[in-house]
């Protein structure tokens, strides 16, 4: 499952952000900042996988990213996704953007925020993979256990 898709530039400015799990705005920004600092440190010629940051997901999650010119494309996924598959997906995603905007660049993302393709683009490219994770709903567990057995019947009459 993909937990979040983050696109930001070399300065950490968010350009396209999609969370498939609810986080309050401040946390979202914190995640973006944290992720940015994680990927910024890394050279372009080292591997594209990162163990998850502390804010999003936890140990089951990985950050998989690619760096194109001035943009970082970061996917946060859990262990059910194929790492190499997601790398391909990022490629497909960027190619899709490229087709939409002809020679996609950072400015396209900034100025065409509302373009139909864009808001749904992650979802569309991801439709083969997409699924979402949300926090648990509260459940009543122990209101009256139905399965009570007593050795002998109480006096009825």
């Amino acid at each position: 499952m993909i937990q979040a898709i983050l696109v930001f530039n070399n300065h950490g400015k968010p350009r396209l952000v999609r969370f498939y799990q609810r986080f309050p705005e401040e946390i979202q920004q914190q995640i973006i900042r944290e992720t940015f600092h994680l990927v910024l440190k890394r050279d372009d010629n080292i591997c594209n996988f990162l163990e998850g940051g502390s804010l999003i997901g936890g140990s089951d999650y990985k950050l998989i990213y690619r760096h194109y010119a001035t943009l970082y494309f970061v996917f946060c996924v859990d262990s059910s996704e194929s790492e190499l598959g997601i790398l391909d997906l990022i490629q497909v995603f960027v190619e899709t953007l490229d087709k939409c905007f002809e020679n996609v660049c950072e400015l396209d993302l900034i100025f065409h925020m509302d373009k139909g393709g864009l808001s749904a683009a992650p979802a569309r490219a991801v439709s083969a993979v997409k699924n979402i994770n949300l926090p648990e709903m509260p459940r009543n567990i122990n209101i009256g256990d139905l399965n009570i057995k007593v050795p002998n019947l109480s006096q009825f009459v």
Binding site: C47, L84, G85, A123, A128, P135, I148, L153, V157
Partner: protein, 1154 residues
């Protein structure tokens, strides 16, 4: 166009679109925040406009600002307005904004239910699509419950675009509303074979995601997935399926065996690295699951390791990383095959990429042996020196400790070397793992008796230079090692060379800057040292020196008395008094050393962390039994409540076979007595055969070990790395050993040569050849005798996926249908359904608990049941097919299947499920003509007194299209149909759907009831317009709604003690009926009463059962059902006699049919 129109107006001078906003933000780099707050003010103005285009534009800008981190939840209502715009471009903006900022806490979200439902059924596929996409992000349990049925319908939409989305979103619905999983699952399964590859892949994704969390429920799908795996060419789908198999194989080893072949084929044939990698991963998982059963898969392992080696050698860092990752999985079960690639792993340790180095470190853990441990750790130590960044260095540190300490220090041949490594690690600046090093030092010093002398000398050196440790890294955790150092020096002070010097080091004023808990340890161990010194001095008859030491303590201890840490302070003042007392005695020339050292006599033994938990309850001790018998008059009360906590335990206990026979028990008892006699103070561990060096009981019997004196015991330079010297020495020692051995061998060979000539094998040094430098006595941690080996860690109760742990092979019950669009009366809030949900939840969970308890029994029955299930499924499939054919040519697919084969869902007693029950349905025919057939069911709810819900299933039996359906009822004094606000008592209530030919759907109507003690009938009419090719006609169908007394009863669980109290209270009136000629089994009989009359079984003994139910107005109804030879008698007690007699009459009718 609308936008242009607005632009034209003078007010709209400031109206900027998103592009303007973005441009503006870029132009105001210095005062961005101010500019944005100004924009937000403008947006607020725009949102007040009536024009939807302006609103949409404003919301669009808000979505951008949300991405930049601004809270836009205040605009939630406006977002809903934009969502409900008729124009797609606006609607899309609305849904986008909603998906970004709506969540379960958004209060206006419940307003969206109807809008979303409308969009879902919109004729435009894009409206539907955008609603589905949006909903996936903000679905709540309420939305999920209300919309589940609509989304399920969309799974059979004509357009694959919609089907795909609907399938995907079902996953979110399942998460939020687990009850929907079982009803929706058959259709989801159908989608696995959808003609459209997109839909198919979506279904695979959803099922894989579900199965990943609760694999055992999806084992039955394995053949289907196997077929898909061998036929599909879509790599995405293949990867998912292969990953899923990886999760399933541990549960079903036979599956693994079948998988090996196709997977190896894929590995050989595929060109896609991602697929290859996943195949290798799953093969590894299969091999792990098989490793216990059949070890003969070396070919597959070799293939995997080979392929992984190719990955690791690849120049692509990503492949290298993944290769190492998978390698570490093989390592766990087949370390031998990985160890062959040690060169590769060591090479990766030097990689420039940190992630790769970390992975390589993981692998190292399994690669060390006695032979190469020192070499590898040396390498790691150089990395520690080079490493930049504390995270990587800390990781290295923990790995070094992990590697060395693994499996009880199995690979360490020279503990002096290890201690010096630990001491060297203390030089690391800014490490967080001081406590780890400290724990290791303590552990080694305590458990390896032979090393204590050396450890003490090292620790005293460490204490001596404590200022270095403490001053430079006061804030970091490294000073924790002083804790260990102080304790070791104190506890084993007899080994100290110059105790006085260490004592002085520990009493330096600088010590007071250490953290409180370390100071406390210092104080305590200062006394231990003091005791040792006193003893020494008194033996040497050096009273002068002894008094000097005492004086030193008296002078220095007050600095600890002033410590801010309570523990340190308390210990210090206590000890200060002690020392002062000793001083007085010394002044009188009384020998005190004996008494002072008696304070610390005896040895501390290590105790396993789990020891306490594992102390078995001694025989004959019943922790639940009363220590003092309670007062006699309360006896009867005491007995019953106890039953609550017993649950099913008593019966369970009886079934369990005795774990040990008498002989065994006697033997154990004997052994225990013996041991207790030997050790009055300790609970000693029973000797385990695996340990090579066993701790002999009692201190005196410890074989004191001769330390190899080739290693210097004196501490050389205080901060010089010593471990290297040890490596060298160790090498020399091994060399010497080898020479000796060779010599011996040569002699042997010569002897052999003299005899018959045999071929001589090359001498290779294996692990076993290396003898440890010291015969090391590794003391095992103490465990209580008879410690129970099993301690399962409970599953995390907060796991959101646990709710989806649902058995999918059971046939559906009536009560499990998805809620459909309801007619609600004006004030109906969501509470009544919520209650239903929890009740249902409990019901569906119950049989599973049962299963757990009777696992063994279950296993035996499994085969039989599997057949049964299969048979049922076959039946269902046929059913489905019919449905499918019917709905194919219709535009609107069938919303709800007719009542299906029921099962004993409401039966409270789990034991009743043992034999198959006849199909049951609570729906009965209401009216029927050539156009339409109506069946209905009446249900009450405890939450709404005097209100019942009538669910009417309308089935179109004609070829006409039925619409404008309206239901009207002639209200009686006692019962009234709840109509929407503002309508008169004669108005009809519209049915909220239309019926294409052949389709059925369910509508619900709420009735208000005054008195519930008698049954009653209401006359009513359904009017509708039937439209066919020839035109439309207005039709009517009259019916009579029958409210039985039973329909006012609600299944309510009741505890036996509460039940007994109720009966004892004497407020209930009594009545009984008897029915003859009943052949049905008692179990089915009870199931029938439970199902049709909404009772629950309180208790059951043989052919006698007590049952309970409650009316919506709170009347208690208690039954005692007894079965005779051919008859059944039912005694009832109820707070209302009329109600009781009516209920019993109705029950009599039901029973008469049996």
């Amino acid at each position: 166009m609308a936008l242009k129109m607005v632009k034209g107006s003078i007010d709209r001078m400031f109206d900027k679109n998103l592009q303007d906003l973005v441009r503006g933000i870029r132009n105001h780099k210095e005062d961005e925040a101010k500019y944005i707050s100004q924009c937000i003010d403008e947006i607020k103005q725009e949102l007040k406009q009536d024009n939807i285009a302006v609103k949409a534009n404003a919301v669009c800008k808000l979505t951008y600002l949300q991405m930049l981190g601004y809270d836009i939840s205040w605009a939630a209502f406006n977002i809903i307005e934009v969502m409900s715009a008729s124009k797609f471009t606006f609607k899309r903006i609305g849904y986008l904004a909603a998906s970004q900022c709506f969540h379960e806490g958004t209060d206006v979200i419940m307003l969206t239910t109807n809008q979303i439902r409308k969009d879902l059924s919109s004729p435009s596929q894009y409206d539907t699509g955008v609603a589905l996409t949006g909903l996936s992000c903000f679905v709540t349990p309420d939305l999920a419950r209300d919309l589940a049925n609509d989304i399920m319908t969309l799974m059979s939409h004509t357009k694959p675009y919609i089907r795909k989305k609907a399938v995907l979103i079902m996953y979110k619905v399942f998460l939020k509303y687990p009850e929907s999983l079982r009803p929706a699952f058959p259709r989801l399964k159908e989608k696995l074979e959808d003609p459209d590859p997109g839909v198919q892949s979506a279904a695979v994704n959803v099922i894989c995601e579900l199965a990943r969390r609760n694999p055992k429920n999806y084992l039955s799908l394995a053949p289907l997935f196997f077929k898909l795996m061998t036929s599909s060419t879509n790599n995405w789908v293949l990867i998912k399926i292969i990953k899923l198999f990886g999760a399933l194989t541990p549960l079903e080893p036979r599956l693994g065996k079948k998988l090996i072949e196709p997977l190896t084929n894929l590995i050989h044939s595929t060109s896609a690295m991602s697929l290859l990698y996943e195949c290798v991963n799953t093969v590894i998982a299969v091999l792990i699951s098989l490793s216990s059963g059949m070890p003969n898969h070396s070919a597959s392992i070799q293939l995997c390791v080979q392929k992984l080696r190719i990955l690791i050698e690849d120049s692509d860092q990503n492949l290298k990383y993944l290769g190492l990752l998978a390698m570490s999985k093989i390592l766990r079960t087949h370390p031998k095959s990985v160890q062959a690639h040690k060169d590769l792993v060591l090479q990766c340790l030097d990689d420039k990429d940190e992630s790769i180095r970390l992975r390589a470190l993981d692998l190292l853990y399994g690669m060390v042996s006695k032979k190469n441990l020192m070499e590898i750790v040396k390498k790691l130590m150089t990395h520690v020196d080079k490493a930049e960044g504390t995270t990587y260095r800390d990781e290295l540190l923990t790995k070094i400790i992990d590697i060395c300490s693994q499996s009880n220090y199995q690979h360490i041949t020279n503990f002096e070397w290890y201690i010096s490594i630990l001491v060297e690690l203390t030089r690391l600046e800014g490490t967080r793992h001081g406590h780890l090093i400290a724990a290791q030092m303590l552990d080694v010093a305590i458990r390896v008796k032979a090393i204590r002398r050396f450890a003490v000398s090292q620790m005293s050196a460490l204490l001596d230079s404590a200022h270095l440790v403490a001053s430079s890294t006061q804030r970091s955790g490294i000073c924790e090692v002083l804790y260990a150092a102080a304790w070791i020096c104190g506890e084993f002070s007899e080994h100290l060379q110059e105790p006085q010097q260490t004592l002085e080091a520990m009493l330096r004023p600088k010590v007071t800057t250490l953290p409180g808990h370390i100071q406390a340890v210092y104080v305590q161990n200062v006394v231990k040292l003091y005791a040792a010194i006193l003893q020494q001095k008194e033996q040497a008859a050096d009273a002068q020196a002894a008094q000097e030491v005492t004086q030193l303590l008296v002078e220095r201890l007050p600095q600890f008395v002033q410590s801010a840490d309570l523990e340190a302070q308390e210990r210090a003042s206590c000890i200060l008094q002690l020392v002062k007392h000793v001083q007085k005695l010394q002044a009188r020339d009384v020998p005190v050393a004996e008494e002072v050292s008696a304070l610390f006599a005896g040895e501390l033994n290590p105790v396993a962390p789990k020891a306490q938990k594992k102390v078995p309850v001694p025989e004959g001790l019943d922790l639940d039994a009363w220590i003092n018998e309670p007062l006699s008059d309360s006896e009867s009360e005491d007995e019953k409540p106890k039953a609550i906590f017993h649950d099913e335990e008593p019966r369970h206990a009886k079934q369990r076979p005795p774990e040990a026979d008498e002989q065994e028990l006697a033997r154990r008892r004997e052994a225990r007595k013996q041991e207790q006699a030997n050790n009055p103070f300790y609970i000693k561990s029973s000797p385990s055969p695996q340990k090579r060096y066993q701790d002999a009981p009692g201190v005196d019997h410890i074989p004191v070990v001769q330390i190899d004196l080739s290693v210097p015991l004196k501490v050389p330079g205080k901060w010089m790395p010593m471990s290297d010297q040890y490596v060298k020495l160790e090498e020399e020692r091994r060399h010497r050993q080898r020479l000796e051995k060779d010599k011996r061998k040569r002699k042997k060979r010569e002897r052999e040569r003299r005899g018959a000539r045999r071929h001589t094998s090359l001498h290779t040094e294996s692990d076993e050849d290396i003898t440890p430098a010291q015969r090391v006595d590794i003391v095992t941690e103490e465990m209580p005798e008879n410690a129970l080996p099993s301690d399962e860690d409970d599953k995390d109760p907060n796991d959101p996926y646990r709710a989806l742990d649902i058995d999918l092979d059971k046939p559906l019950a009536d009560s499990e249908k998805l809620p459909v669009q309801k007619h609600r009366d004006a004030e109906t809030s969501k509470s009544p359904e919520r209650q239903d949900v929890t009740v249902m939840e409990k019901k569906s969970k119950k049989p599973k608990r049962k299963e757990k308890k009777h696992k063994e029994k279950e296993r035996e029955k499994k085969k039989k049941e599997a057949e049964k299930v299969r048979a049922r499924r076959r039946k269902k499939k046929k059913h489905k097919k019919d449905k499918g054919e019917r709905s194919k040519d219709k535009k609107k697919p069938k919303k709800r299947a007719p009542p299906r084969e029921g099962e004993a869902e409401p039966v409270q007693n789990g034991a009743l499920c043992e034999e198959p029950l006849p199909p049951m349905s609570s729906y009965s025919l209401l009216a029927e003509n050539s156009y339409i057939k109506m069946t209905y069911d009446v249900q009450g709810s405890l939450q709404k007194d005097s209100r019942v819900t009538v669910s009417v299933v309308l089935e179109n039996q004609s070829s006409s299209f039925l619409r404008n359906m309206e239901l009207n009822v002639l209200d009686s004094l006692n019962a009234r149909l709840a109509r929407p606000d503002g309508s008169s008592v004669h108005d009809a209530v519209p049915v909220p759907f239309q019926l294409p030919p052949g389709i059925s759907n369910e509508a619900q109507f709420v009735f208000t009831i005054q008195s519930i003690v008698t049954a009653q009938k209401l006359k009513g009419t359904l009017s509708f317009i039937a439209k066919n090719d020839e035109g439309s006609t207005h039709e009517k169908l009259d019916f009579k709604l029958h409210f039985t007394c039973t329909s006012y009863l609600v299944t309510t669980p009741c505890y036996s003690d509460a039940f007994a109290k109720l009966l004892e209270s004497g407020d209930l009136s009594m009545s009984s009926v008897k029915v003859d000629g009943i052949s049905m089994s008692f179990q089915n009989l009870l199931a029938k009463i439970c199902f049709h009359h909404h009772f629950s079984v309180v208790e059951r003994v043989d052919s006698c059962a007590s049952m309970y139910s409650r009316s919506i107005q709170g009347h208690h109804v208690c039954l005692l059902v007894k079965k005779g030879e051919k008859s059944v008698s039912v005694d009832g007690k109820c707070s209302d006699s009329t109600l009781l007699s009516n209920v019993l009459e109705e029950m009599k009718e039901t029973l008469a049919k049996c």
